[in-house]
Amino acid sequence: MSESTREAVLLKGNEACAEGAIAGGCRYFFGYPITPQNQIPEYMARHLPEVGGVYLQAESEVAAINMVIGAAAAGTIPMTSSSSPGISLMQEGLSYLVGCELPCVLVNMVRGGPGLGNIAPAQSDYWMSTRGLGHGDGRSLVFAPYSVQEIHDWTAEAFDIAARYRLPVTILGDAALAQVAEPCQVRLRGKTVALEHEWAVGGGLQGRERRIVNSLWVQPDVMEQVNLRIAERLKQASADLTLWQETGSAEPAILVCAYGVTARVAETAIEWAAERGVAARLFRPISLVPFPYAPLGEWAGRVRKILVLELSLGQMIEDVRLAAAGRCEVEFFGRAGGQLLYPEEVADRLVAMMATQG
């Protein structure tokens, strides 16, 4: 236990996320209930007032994200959370956040889809989260924790990151991480997001020019400059925050690439496959935007195959193929619709891959 944390407590992913937000300085939360993330707004409703914060239940995800826009314009780093269908509804507002160069923290506890789908764990919102939030030429930062502890820590860190790059920051979880309970070293509360950001409206005009928060740029040359400015900040974030983790064999024949809850499955599967003579290594992207193309590409030149594991029919695999750039074969193993992958079947797959190569 360090100076900045309390003792480890048993928390669900959702609760760890909410407490992490409060520790990270969050004081304004706007949301609309949807399973499997309801404990986040519930926790905020209960605990934000303890630190002088504001929880507000919006009438829809559309309203929630627009309240976030207003709160961000007023100078705070606000937060909202939802799950897949709700994030679909927020896309327009997220695009406005990018366009207005406003920060916020967004949590998506992904569930099975498309449509109403179900409330089981899925990773099928990878494209929606990483390809751009809503319309227009803008992207934003996405981090994928793989444990309750990481959900807590990343949500806490997300506020500073959002402020630094003036971008929405997405914490991409799933129904399993949201609901599982694990020991979590909880950070101490005590930090509050400041309101004195240079874009902030409200608070009086004394000693400053009036401010305008806007995403309308009718002149294409001006719009392009805004596009480039946002891209520049994203580039800077890529330089600072390209994050991944590796475990397993130092001389792998197979590199397993997986993020979030699937990486947990992969860790066990790789251990079990090692007992059966397979040298495999896990490459776990933590930042999905920026994606760790370069380090993954290096491995592609050293291993015989990459196996991509996802709870979808294959979305991140496109980034893995871009990183591999033809240097090795890239195979896919995934389940969709809210189905999970199990370590046994992944270990079997690794053994089979070893058997089929020369």
């Binding site: 304004y28 706007f30 504001v54 507000l56 919006a58 009438e59 829809s60 559309v62 309203a63 929630a64 627009n66 309240m67 976030v68 826009i69 207003g70 709160a71 961000a72 314009a73 007023a74 100078g75 705070t76 606000p78 327009e92 507002g93 406005y96 207005c100 309101l195 409206v201 409200g202 608070g203 009086g204 005009l205 004394q206 009036r210 401010r211 305008i212 928060v213 806007n214 995403s215 309308l216």
Partner: protein, 263 residues
Amino acid sequence: MSAVNEADLRELEPLYTRPESLTETPMRYCPACTHGTAHRLVAEVLDELGVRERTVAVASVGCSVYAYEYFNCDCVQAAHGRAPAVATGIKRVRPDSVVFTYQGDGDLASIGLAEVIHAAARAENITVIFINNAVFGMTQGQMAPTSLPGQVTTTTPRGRSVEQGGHPLRVCELLREVEGVAYLARRALGAPRQVRAARKAIHKAFEAQLEGAGFALVELLSICPTFWHKSPLEALKHLEQAMVPYYPLGEYVDWRGSAGGEE
């Protein structure tokens, strides 16, 4: 008659100047459009109340999308229909700010109806200026939720048929039932006496906010000569003869208890 002497002019007391709450940016509205009138009335009230420096205006999507260039205060430009939600976010973070939205009928009564009703139900302490010109002006003249029965628009070329396209919405009548509304009035930007009444209503709608009384909205029946395909004078006549009978003027809710209802 002698020529006007500049020195004499300087000694005259100005009777009519640009309110401080308006910038010097020339407005881009069509000739005779009443958006400009509405802007001026709001700006005069902000000046009068001395709140310009702590005001945040929320512009919406419609002909008035550039309101942030005209109102001389902090401004946020919101997505189509979402201004009351954006205003909610601002007001919750900055309760000492005076926050108002400026929305058209497409913005407020069509795509954004949920946001305005829920902001009202939460007694959100904001002021809404609602410009009802019975048409989508910015997108060049399509049917609005407030277009009158029989009104010809580009998407109702044979006139709005209520059987096919539904009935016009009366926003004040809808909102009067919502607990949380402190002040609610409908005025018309037609004859000078109506404009003066509109100004009074706008004044009250900001006073309601300053007193923390709750949600306030002023609907301003407005003209759109361009997309009504009428001369300014014909448009004003239409306002009087067709709009006002369908949308009765009056104070619908007054937190001070003196709402007179329809006039």
